[in-house]
Each structure stands twice: as structure tokens, then as C-alpha cells.
């Protein structure tokens, strides 16, 4: 099964190993835990190099559960390698950054942080390299859980708890839906292997033709949309910004949210031709893109801005997948990972320095944080799409894909809307980028920052802090410049999810509509930035309406309230209510049985001609005794009428001429009534409670519903032609025939009791003896109790 001496398994396993070492390590590991995770990430990164260098596709596989066709299969194609390199590379940088950023008084807390970070990294690498749907899902959910721990790292903070829980809820919801989608896919195609499905046109055709296809597609998309914070699940991402900044940079810019669009790329070969694919993705992607950019401009918190722009950028990638632009999807993913990672890490440095992330309290930090300033400027320029950064190349390719899309060309109205939305969001991102960089770094240093100045300068940004953003921003610049040559194009082509032809990624695009569009967006963006106050004022006026996160929380609260009301109303502790619910369910189900069998009470035709008169008498008395039991006011009366019921039931066997049962029943009734009467002595007085007439009526109704239904059923059953009960006694092999054949006696009842059912009879006698013993015991106890009472009485009299 091992196809090569592959390093893929160690690549995925190393971070998990590091997590175990760091998490279970004693105090001796202490501050070194960050460096251990850094080393693991670096090792993972390097272990990917051979896979990237080979010409074929490196794989690793062993059967995990052969019976279900699930295997632990890793496969390093270009697209997977891209994400894996991003995950391990940025992971190493983030671990490095964290060694300076996360300094806790409690080393145990720090260790937990690194353990969660490392497990997250391992799971992300797993997602990147998994070639099995179930394996992919497993890693997917591990990222949900570890991100819950990472977001909730500052658990002293209520917002952190709420944000972590919301992220977990939303992403786990999507993940579980996705797993069912995968199951459906496997159901149709008969395999869980991703490469097996995507490489076989027949399987894909089968999947697309299947009636399960739309359901599977929508479920998988639900997973992608929730993970990538796409509309209408975009709200959890800003709330997750309570995480430590390196976590935000890593999870919410570079990697985890990428998993969603990565899934789109992975499943495009399966579902790309499905009729639902393009419209769903184009609409969701465009909405997320525009909404994210709009909201980003409105925010004043640095990280909130970045979170919104992330949702916007991911929306753009979703839109591209909708249009089937899989030739250069890697360009967009790489570009976003580089600039957004850099921007987040800069935000962390700024917060560390100035102790605030609010734009209205920041400014003039270019002197204090020169390297951060440069990194931020480069990142912003790339986000805005200025040449010569990679962002410009990416934006140009985006417009090219949009304008050359055949699918969009077929729907002119949608095409116009998408184009306008794209221009608007590009422009808004340009303006936001300007706001970000100039707001933080230019102008005069604000008073608020001054207040903390002494403290802030005490921890001048250390080397690990600025290395990471510098490398990322530098990467965006270098790759942009490299696109003057062929290097970037080569890279993009090699790592695209489904490269149909060579990708063009160049700083010098041909003159044409795509270039005009991206230049127009730049100009529009600059114009928006110069009029930013007017735009903000307009946004403020337009504000209002329900926020999605509030709606989600409202829905959750409503669900909880509903559940509570439901449980309080149903599970209110009243036994009467429980029994009523149950007793009423049975007739309701019986009515269902009526309809299932197509019978109704009208078909009843039963004659009682051969029933003797005393049969009717016993039944009437039975009814009277039952009513008497229910209406009894003392325990004694209740006990006596219950006993009467028992005896009357026994008498019914006179009607059916079964003296043996009659005898047994009478004996049992006698002993048990003595038993009941003896026990009564130990019980307190009967609480005399008068029920309200209304309650009594309800009780009567419930009883009547049950009684009437069962009566109708019985009568129907007895109606000839509905179903003949088999005559148990006389059929061949039945007891009656056995009595003569094997017992040799004509008094069948006697033979049955003492011969055929001898063991039963012995058992019955034993039961009677045991009950008799119990009665005897009770009688003795009672006598002793009376004597004691008497003794106590005399003593007290003597006193």
C-alpha cells in the first residue's frame, strides 16, 4: 500500500507529536514550547519539499477500515501542496511570532496554547493532503475543536467565550452537514477516495446524474460556506477576533477559513458541472464579497476590519469557483494568505505597542514601528491591488475571469450585477486599505497612545514579532515582481486545483477590459478614500437593520427557550400528566392503525347471543367495582374494591369454562388482598383531596378515549372476517391434542396442570408459598409493633 518512501505521514504527524510533547510536558519545557512548535512546523514544511520536487504525485495510504472502504490516504497534488506549504510555512512564522506575543505568567496556559496551535496545524495539513472524504472530515472537525480552544484562549473574557462557542457552533454545523454530503457522494460513487472520483469521468457522470446530487452538493457547500465565513454565515468571523492576534492571523486569514474555499477547489471536479453549482456560488460569493467590503469600511477596530475584508476576499474566491476559474485559483489563495497574514500580524504588533486596536485612538506610529509600517503598507497595497504587488496580478486575473466567463455571458443581468458589485467591493477595499495604513501610521501620535508610552516602549517589538509580517509582506512583493518573468505563472499553474491550461500571471497584462476594470476600481477606491468621511457618514445613516450575528444569537436563544418551555411544559414532574400523555398516545396510534388497515368502527358486527346472562352480570359488576375503586375515599375502601375487581375477573373464567385458571386466580387474589390489607396498616392516612370538576372531566375524557378505542378494536377483532384468531388449544400440536396423545388423559385440564405444565404448576405453588411466607412475616411484624406500642404506652403511663 505504501507507494513511496513518502514523507507525507510525518508531515501531518509531526505537529500532532509536538502538541503531545508540549501539552503533556512538565514545567521543564516551559518557555521552550513555542520553539518546539516552530521546529515542528519547519520540519513539516521541509518534509513537503521532496513531494513538491517529484514529478509524479506523492501519496501515502494504508487501509483504515477496509470493510467500509475508508483508508488513511494522503495525496500531495499541487493544490494540496500549496495549502500545506501555506499552513506549515505561516504556521512556523506564527509560532515564532507567538514566542514574543504570548507571554503568560502561567506557563501551563502557554503550553496549552501551543498544544492547541500545533494540533490545529496538524489537522490543517491533514485537510490539505487528505485524499479520503472521511479523513478530510475528521481533520476538518479537529480544526473546529482546536479553533474553539484557540479563540477561547482568553477565557477570562466573556466575549472570548461567546465568540469561541459561536465559531464552534457554526463551523461544526457545516462540518456535520458536509459529512452527510460526503456520505451521499460515497453512496452514489461507491468510494470515499477523492482522487478516484475526480479521475474517473464515468463516476462523475454517475454522481451528476444521481437524484442525490443536489442534496449532496448543497450539504458540502454548507460545510465550505460556514468554514469560509460566507454569507449568510459571515458573522462568526468578526466575533472570533477575540482570539490572540497570531491565532487570528493563522486561523482567520491564512489557513482555517481557506479550508472552505479549498474544499470548493477539491470538489469542483465532482460538482462543477452540476446545474446548482454556478448560480449558488456566484450569488453567495458576490454577496459575501460586497457585504464584507462594505462592512470592513464601516469598522474601526483593526482586527474587525481585517476579518471583514477576509470574508470579502473569500467571497471573491467563491465567486471565481462559481465561474469555474480553477486555472489560477492558487494565485488568489496564495495572495490572500500572504497579505492578510502580514496585516494581522502587524495589527498584533500595533496592539502590543499601543494597547488599543481602535483606529480612532491610533496614529503616527510610523516612527515607533518602522518595519511594521512598511509591512502594513505592502500588505495594504496588495490588498488594494496596486502594482507591483501580487495583489495587482490577482485582481487583474479576477477581472479577466469575470469578463471572459461564458456562464456569466449567458445571463447579462447577473453579469452586470456581479461586475458592479466587484468594482464596488474592490474600490471599498482600496479605501479600507488606505484607512488602515494611514490611520495607524501617519499623522500625529494620539494622546491615548501617549498615555501608555512609557510602558509601551519598555517592550520594543522584538525580532520574532516583526520577522513574520516582514517575510509575508516581502513575499507578496517579491512574487509580484517575479510575475514580470515566468516564475509566478509557473507556480500558479503547478498549484492550481484543476489546471486546464497554463495560467497567466503577469504584472504587465495586455490592454483590455480586465485591466481597465482593475484600474478603474483603483481610481474609484482612491476617490472613496479621499471622501471617506462622507462615505462613513452615509454608512452610519444606512446602518440599522438586523445584524446577522444578533440574529444567530437570537435564534440560538429562541431554540434554548423553546426547548426549555417544551421541557417545562411536558416534563413538568406531574405523573398524572405523564400518564395522560402516554395513555392518549396509544389511542392516537390505534387510530393510525385504523387508517393503515382501512377499517372503521362501522364494520363491527358482533352478536352476544351465546354469552350467558351471568357473563353480563359479572361485567356490569366489574364496571361498578372499578368506578368504586377510583372514587374510594379511604384506603380500605380502595383495597376492598380492588380485590372485588380481582375476584370478578376470576369469575369471568367461569364464563370461559377454565376452572384451572379460575382456581389459580382466586388463590392469588386471596393472598394478595391479605397482603395489601396488611400493608395498609403501615401507611399514613389517605390524603382526602377533592379534584376540581374540570380536572375530573378531563380525566374522564382521557379514560373514555382509551376505553372506547380499545373497545372498538376488540369488537372489530371479534367481527367475523376481519381476522380469525387461531384456535390455539385444538390445533394439531396444541395442548388439547397433546393431553390425549402424550398425557393419556381425557380430562385435559388435569393433564395440563399436573403433567404437561407440571413445572409451571410447581412454580405457581412456589410463588404462593413465598407470598404466604411474606404474609406471615408481615403478621408477625404487626404483632410485634403492637406489643411495642403497648409496652411504650405502659411505660409512659408509669412515668
Amino acid at each position: 500500500m505504501l507507494e513511496s518512501s513518502s514523507l507525507l505521514l510525518p508531515c501531518v504527524a509531526l505537529p500532532f507529536l509536538a502538541a503531545v510533547v508540549v501539552g503533556s510536558g512538565s514545567g521543564r519545557i516551559g518557555r521552550a514550547s513555542g520553539w518546539i512548535v516552530f521546529a515542528a512546523a519547519l520540519a513539516s514544511f521541509l518534509s513537503l519539499v521532496p513531494a513538491a520536487a517529484t514529478h509524479g504525485i506523492d501519496r501515502f495510504s494504508f487501509p483504515w477500515l477496509p470493510a467500509a472502504g475508508i483508508s488513511f490516504a494522503l495525496r500531495a497534488d499541487g493544490f494540496g501542496l500549496l495549502l500545506a506549504f501555506i499552513v506549515s510555512g505561516i504556521g512556523a512564522l506564527v509560532a515564532l511570532y507567538s514566542t514574543a506575543y504570548v507571554a503568560e505568567a502561567d506557563p501551563a496556559k502557554e503550553r496549552r496554547y501551543y498544544a492547541a496551535l500545533a494540533s490545529f496545524m496538524g489537522a490543517m495539513l491533514g485537510i490539505a493532503l487528505a485524499d479520503d472524504l472521511i479523513l478530510l472530515f475528521v481533520f476538518w472537525e479537529i480544526t473546529s475543536i482546536t479553533s474553539f480552544l484557540l479563540i477561547g484562549y482568553r477565557y477570562e473574557d466573556d466575549d472570548a467565550k461567546a465568540g469561541a462557542l459561536m465559531a464552534l457552533q457554526v463551523t461544526a454545523l457545516g462540518g456535520l452537514a458536509m459529512s452527510v454530503g460526503f456520505l451521499l457522494v460515497a453512496q452514489v460513487t461507491g468510494t470515499f477516495s477523492i482522487s478516484a472520483i475526480t479521475s474517473d469521468p464515468a463516476l462523475i457522470a454517475k454522481l451528476l446524474a444521481s437524484p442525490l446530487c443536489p442534496a449532496a452538493l448543497l450539504l458540502v457547500l454548507l460545510g465550505a460556506f460556514t468554514k469560509s465565513a460566507q454569507f449568510p454565515f459571515h458573522f462568526w468571523l468578526p466575533r472570533a477576533m477575540v482570539a490572540p492576534t497570531p491565532v487570528s492571523a493563522y486561523l482567520h486569514a491564512a489557513t482555517m477559513v481557506k479550508a472552505g474555499v479549498f474544499l470548493l477547489g477539491r470538489t469542483y471536479p465532482m460538482f462543477g458541472e452540476a446545474p446548482l453549482w454556478a448560480p449558488t456560488l456566484v450569488v453567495v460569493g458576490t454577496t459575501s464579497m460586497l457585504l464584507g467590503a462594505y462592512q470592513a469600511f464601516r469598522e474601526i477596530d483593526l482586527k474587525a476590519i481585517l476579518a471583514r475584508t477576509t470574508a470579502s476576499a473569500l467571497g471573491m474566491i467563491t465567486l471565481l469557483y462559481g465561474l469555474g476559474a480553477t486555472t489560477d485559483d492558487s494565485l488568489q489563495i496564495l495572495n490572500h494568505a500572504l497579505y492578510k497574514g502580514a496585516l494581522f500580524l502587524v495589527a498584533g504588533i500595533v496592539e502590543h505597542h499601543a494597547h488599543t486596536r481602535r483606529l480612532d485612538q491610533l496614529g503616527g506610529l510610523r516612527h515607533a514601528l518602522p518595519i511594521a509600517f512598511v509591512a502594513c503598507a505592502l500588505g495594504s497595497l496588495s490588498m488594494a491591488g496596486f502594482p507591483p504587488l501580487l495583489g495587482f496580478v490577482a485582481k487583474d486575473n479576477f477581472y479577466a475571469a469575470l469578463l471572459h466567463s461564458e456562464w456569466l455571458a449567458g445571463t447579462p443581468l447577473l453579469r452586470t450585477v456581479v461586475l458592479l458589485a466587484s468594482l464596488a467591493s474592490s474600490a471599498l477595499l482600496v479605501a479600507t486599505a488606505g484607512k488602515l495604513t494611514f490611520g495607524v501610521f501617519s499623522g500625529a501620535e494620539r494622546a491615548h497612545a501617549h498615555g501608555r508610552r512609557d510602558e509601551a516602549h519598555a517592550d520594543e517589538p522584538r525580532v520574532p514579532l516583526w520577522t513574520a509580517p516582514a517575510i509575508l509582506a516581502g513575499g507578496a512583493l517579491l512574487l509580484g515582481l517575479a510575475s514580470l518573468g515566468e516564475l509566478t505563472s509557473d507556480l500558479v499553474t503547478a498549484t492550481a486545483s484543476a489546471p486546464e491550461h497554463r495560467a497567466h500571471a503577469t504584472l504587465l497584462p495586455a490592454l483590455g477590459w480586465p485591466l481597465f476594470a482593475s484600474l478603474f476600481a483603483l481610481v474609484l477606491g482612491v476617490a472613496l478614500y479621499t471622501r471617506r468621511d462622507a462615505v462613513s457618514a452615509l454608512q452610519k445613516r444606512l446602518a440599522g437593520g438586523p445584524a446577522a450575528s444578533a440574529m444567530w444569537e437570537g435564534a440560538m436563544a429562541a431554540l434554548a427557550r423553546g426547548g426549555e418551555a417544551y421541557s417545562v411544559r411536558w416534563q413538568n414532574g406531574s405523573l398524572r400528566w405523564y400518564l395522560a400523555a402516554t395513555v392518549l398516545t396509544l389511542p392516537a396510534l390505534c387510530v393510525w392503525a385504523f387508517s393503515e388497515t382501512g377499517l372503521s368502527w362501522r364494520q363491527i358486527s358482533v352478536t352476544f347471543a351465546d354469552t350467558p346472562w351471568y357473563g353480563f352480570l359479572f361485567c356490569t359488576l366489574l364496571a361498578v367495582a372499578t368506578i368504586a375503586t377510583v372514587r374510594a375515599r379511604t384506603r380500605l375502601a380502595a383495597a376492598i374494591s380492588t380485590t372485588t375487581i380481582g375476584f370478578l375477573v376470576a369469575m369471568l373464567f367461569v364464563v370461559y369454562r377454565s376452572p384451572d385458571i379460575l382456581l389459580t386466580q382466586l388463590l392469588i387474589e386471596t393472598v394478595s388482598s391479605i397482603f395489601v390489607l396488611l400493608v395498609l396498616v403501615f401507611l399514613p392516612a389517605f390524603p382526602a383531596r377533592d379534584m376540581k370538576p374540570g380536572t375530573q372531566l378531563v380525566n374522564l375524557g382521557i379514560a373514555a378515549a382509551f376505553g372506547v378505542t380499545i373497545t372498538i378494536l376488540l369488537l372489530l377483532t371479534m367481527t367475523p372476517g376481519i381476522r380469525e384468531p387461531s384456535n390455539i388449544a385444538t390445533r394439531p400440536g396444541g395442548l388439547l391434542s397433546l393431553a390425549l396423545e402424550q398425557g393419556g388423559g381425557k380430562n385435559a385440564v388435569n393433564v395440563i396442570i399436573v403433567d404437561i405444565r407440571a413445572a409451571d404448576t410447581t412454580g405457581e405453588i412456589t410463588v404462593l408459598v413465598v407470598v404466604g411466607l411474606a404474609v406471615y412475616g408481615l403478621l408477625r411484624t404487626r404483632r410485634r409493633a403492637r406489643q411495642q406500642r403497648k409496652g411504650r404506652g405502659t411505660r409512659s403511663e408509669a412515668a
Partner: protein, 492 residues
């Protein structure tokens, strides 16, 4: 092989030994002065029973006692599960403060008696045997539920359980008598043959089955026969609650599965069963499954006062999940149920152990008593609880996920993907309250007055075993699945 009464005895070692032990324990209680030994003796007894069942695993399938008890892979699988549940319950009881305060001799004897009944529920092959076993378990459970003699809540729980159980089993025996009347036999196999030859979709059969379902549904706490569960779970001592949630429910499923699969359905070849006498059952059970899980999860959402009550609702929901495997009526569904019930045993029992550890130290069973558990001495229980909660939700790479995977796969295979969707939606809802517990343990700060939690080695060992099993089975579940696969067949 069909054995008569005397031949059967050698194949009934676990039950015979257990019966003997029940009586012996009552007697020992009178003469032993160191009552804490009684728990150890009971533990030894359950261990021997486990071994006894394991020894039977290799024996040839057949019936015992003139066909009234089945000796087959299916029954033995469940017997093993029940014996293990009893073992864990006795282990828990030894480490429980609540139990230590009571009359231990009777307590352990009654736990063993309930186990005896459950063993027979798992292998009853005859309506009479089924009813007797079920009643035997119920009677023992009524006593156990009210075992904290001086607690009003326990008394209330016991009484409600008794009356509710009485009604349910009354309905059941009535239904069984109808079945007897229709089929002319008490034996499952014979009933199936009689019904298969009769007219289809007969009203009496429907009604008889509905009434029987009341008794079975009550044992597995399926909607709408679940109403006793929250009150009883809350009132009973924690080990008893765990036993009811795991042992009793498992035994109920064993009986229900065997009854419906062997008496009410016949194998159609290709691992698919088919109802005898109408297929309206399909819709009813489907609805039952969907409503049961939805009800359980919704009701659990806002439970904060008592974690036992929360786990009661969650166990109702899990009964709904297991029923998904029932609805499809295939071999796939059957083995998914076997697998899931085992996994459920591990994770649910584990959750109860954690609740008990906290209650032992603090006397609290509410959610607030779990605040910051991880930071006040209970780091290990908190981690274990988190694993159980995520496993109950069905998140990978834990055993609960594998269990749900097989259930969903079985459902999807039969094209019931709507039910699978309902199942997934329910898993999502359940995540809310399970995650809330995890959040409370890890992210909430302990406030003053919430004392430190200490776990002794005794409870620690059990918790450790359950946790490890939950994790390991999430990664390496092959052997268990093979066992479930092998056990998913009945005699004949």
C-alpha cells in the same frame, strides 16, 4: 441445537451464578460486619459473569430451555455489554458517596438481580420469557431508583417509575396476549411463521404491536414513553442512573431488536429484512426515531439545574439515534446499532462517572458546580468529560463519530436521507448543550464556595479506561466493528 431444561443449565452459567450470588449477597449482608466488602464481592461476581459470557461466545448457536431462551451471537453480544455495564456500575457504586450511606448488602444484591433480568432480556426468545425478564428488571429498578431512602426526590422518582412502568408493562402484556391469540405461539420464530402465512396488514396485529411497543419503548425511553426518564434519572443515586441509562436501555434495545427482527420480520436475502403483516411499521418507527431524538435534544438544550437530568434527555436523544438503525431493517442497520450501543455505553457511562466524581467532592450536580472544573483540581475529569461530550455529539476522531457514521451510512444506504438530515440537525443541536458543559468546565472561572474536586484512584481507573476506549475506538475501531458484524445475526 435446541436444548431441554437440564442440558441448558451448562450453557446458563452466567445467569445461574448471578442468581446464586443475589441470594448469597442477601445472606452475607446478615453475617458480614464489614459492609464495604459486599461491594468488592459484587464486583468479583460481575467480573466472573463477564468471563462466563465471554466463554460462551464460542459455543454453537441454539436455543435453551425448550426454545424460550436463545443462545446466539446477538444475545451474547448484548449479554457481554450488560455484564460490563453491571461491572462498571458496581465499580462506580463502590466509589460513590451516595451508595456508601445506604444499606449496601441489599443494594448490591438488587443491582445483581437487575443484571440477571437484563441478561434474560437480551436472550429471551419467547414472549413470556421476555415479559418476565422485563418485569424482573423493572421491579429491581424501582427499588434502586428510590435507594436514597431519606431523599424525597428519590422516593418520588421511585413511585413515578413504578406507576409509569406498571402502566407501560400492563399495556405490553395486553398486547402480547393479542399476539399470542393471533399467532398461537409465544415463540418468536413461530410467531413470525404464523403471521407470514396470515392475511397482511391486519388491525389486531397492529394494535397488538402498538401495545407491545409501549412496554419496549418505555424500557428504551423512546418518545412518547420516555416521560419517566428525566425524573427518575434525577432522583436516583448516580450509579443507578448510569445503570438505567446504559444497562437497562441496552437490554431494552436487545429485546426490541430481537422481537421485531425475528418475530415481526423475515430476512429477505441480501441483508435486508421485510415486515410480515404490512409495512406501515416503517413510517411509524421512522417518526418515532425522528421525534425521539428531536425531543431529547430540544429538551436538553437549557438544562442547567441537574446534569443527570440533562444526561437523561441526552439519553432519550441517543435512543432516537439508535432507532435510525432500526428503521432501515437491514443488516447494516443492525450492526450499526450494536456498534453504537457499545460506544454509547462507554461515553455515557464515562459522563456519569465524572458527574459522580464532582458530586462526591462537592455534593453538587448542577451545571454551575462544574464551573472551572479544570482549574480546581479536576483537570483529568474535565478532559475526560470534554472527550465524552464531543464523542456524544459525534465529532471525530472519537468513538461517537464512528458510531454515528455507521448509523447514518445505514440510513443513507436505504435512501432515507431525510432521516439522516434530521439526525445531523439533531447532532448540531446537541452540540450546543454538550459544548456548553465543556465551556463551563474550561472557560468559566470558578467562583468562591465551589470547592476543590479530588478524584481518588478508584474512580480514576474506571474513568481512564472509559476515556481511553472512547478515544481509541475513534481511531481504531476495526475489531469492535468486526465483533458487531459477527454478532448481528440471530438463531436460527
Amino acid at each position: 441445537m435446541n436444548l431441554d431444561n437440564f442440558q441448558s443449565l451448562s450453557y446458563s452459567f452466567p445467569a445461574l451464578f448471578l442468581g446464586f450470588a443475589v441470594v448469597a449477597l442477601f445472606m452475607l449482608d446478615l453475617v458480614i460486619s464489614r459492609k464495604e466488602w459486599l461491594g468488592d464481592i459484587a464486583l468479583l461476581v460481575t467480573a466472573i459473569v463477564v468471563l462466563g459470557v465471554v466463554r460462551l461466545l464460542t459455543s454453537e448457536a441454539g436455543t435453551l430451555f425448550h426454545g424460550s431462551v436463545a443462545l446466539d451471537e446477538f444475545g451474547l453480544y448484548f449479554q457481554l455489554l450488560i455484564a460490563l455495564a453491571a461491572f462498571a456500575t458496581v465499580w462506580m457504586s463502590i466509589g460513590s458517596r451516595e451508595v456508601q450511606r445506604t444499606n449496601q448488602g441489599e443494594y448490591y444484591a438488587i443491582v445483581l438481580a437487575a443484571t440477571l433480568g437484563m441478561l434474560f432480556m437480551a436472550s429471551a426468545n419467547n414472549l413470556l420469557m421476555a415479559y418476565l425478564a422485563l418485569e424482573f428488571v423493572s421491579l429491581a429498578s424501582y427499588v434502586l431508583a428510590g435507594y436514597s431512602r431519606h431523599s424525597r426526590r428519590a422516593g418520588e422518582a421511585s413511585l413515578k417509575y413504578l406507576i409509569y412502568g406498571g402502566v407501560a408493562s400492563g399495556a405490553m402484556i395486553y398486547g402480547m396476549s393479542w399476539i399470542y391469540g393471533l399467532a398461537g405461539s409465544l415463540e418468536f420464530g413461530a410467531i413470525q411463521q404464523a403471521l407470514a402465512s396470515g392475511k397482511e396488514a391486519s388491525l389486531p396485529l397492529y394494535v397488538a404491536l402498538l401495545l407491545t411497543l409501549a412496554g419496549l419503548g418505555y424500557k428504551i425511553s423512546a418518545f412518547p414513553f420516555h416521560m419517566w426518564a428525566p425524573d427518575v434519572y434525577q432522583g436516583a443515586p448516580i450509579p443507578v442512573t448510569a445503570f438505567l441509562a446504559v444497562g437497562s436501555k441496552t437490554a431494552g434495545f436487545a429485546l426490541m431488536i430481537r422481537f421485531f427482527f425475528t418475530a415481526m420480520a423475515h430476512q429477505n436475502g441480501g441483508g435486508v429484512y421485510e415486515w410480515v403483516g404490512g409495512d406501515g411499521w416503517h413510517q411509524l418507527l421512522l417518526a418515532l426515531s425522528a421525534v425521539t431524538m428531536t425531543y431529547g435534544n430540544l429538551a436538553a438544550l437549557n438544562q442547567q439545574d441537574n446534569l443527570k437530568r440533562l444526561l437523561a434527555y441526552s439519553s432519550i436523544a441517543h435512543a432516537g439515534y439508535v432507532l435510525m438503525g432500526f428503521v432501515v431493517l437491514t443488516d447494516d442497520g443492525l450492526r450499526a446499532m450494536l456498534f453504537y450501543l457499545t460506544v454509547y455505553y462507554l461515553m455515557n457511562l464515562g459522563a456519569f462517572v465524572v458527574v459522580m466524581v464532582v458530586a462526591n467532592s462537592t455534593g453538587r450536580e448542577d451545571l454551575a458546580g462544574f464551573r472551572g472544573l479544570a482549574w480546581r483540581g479536576g483537570a483529568l475529569p474535565a478532559i475526560a468529560m470534554a472527550i465524552f461530550m464531543f464523542s456524544l455529539t459525534g465529532l471525530p476522531p472519537l468513538a461517537g463519530f464512528i458510531g454515528k457514521f455507521y448509523l447514518f451510512a445505514a440510513v443513507v444506504q436505504q435512501g432515507l436521507w431525510l432521516l439522516a438530515l434530521i439526525g445531523v440537525a439533531n447532532s448540531v443541536v446537541s452540540l450546543f448543550y454538550y459544548a456548553k458543559i465543556v465551556r463551563t468546565m474550561f472557560l468559566d472561572q470558578p467562583i468562591g464556595g465551589e470547592g476543590a474536586v479530588a478524584m481518588d484512584w478508584h474512580n480514576g481507573v474506571l474513568l481512564g479506561l472509559l476515556t481511553i476506549a472512547t478515544v481509541v475506538l475513534g481511531i481504531f475501531w476495526g475489531p469492535l466493528f468486526d465483533l458487531a458484524d459477527r454478532s448481528a445475526r440471530f438463531f436460527p
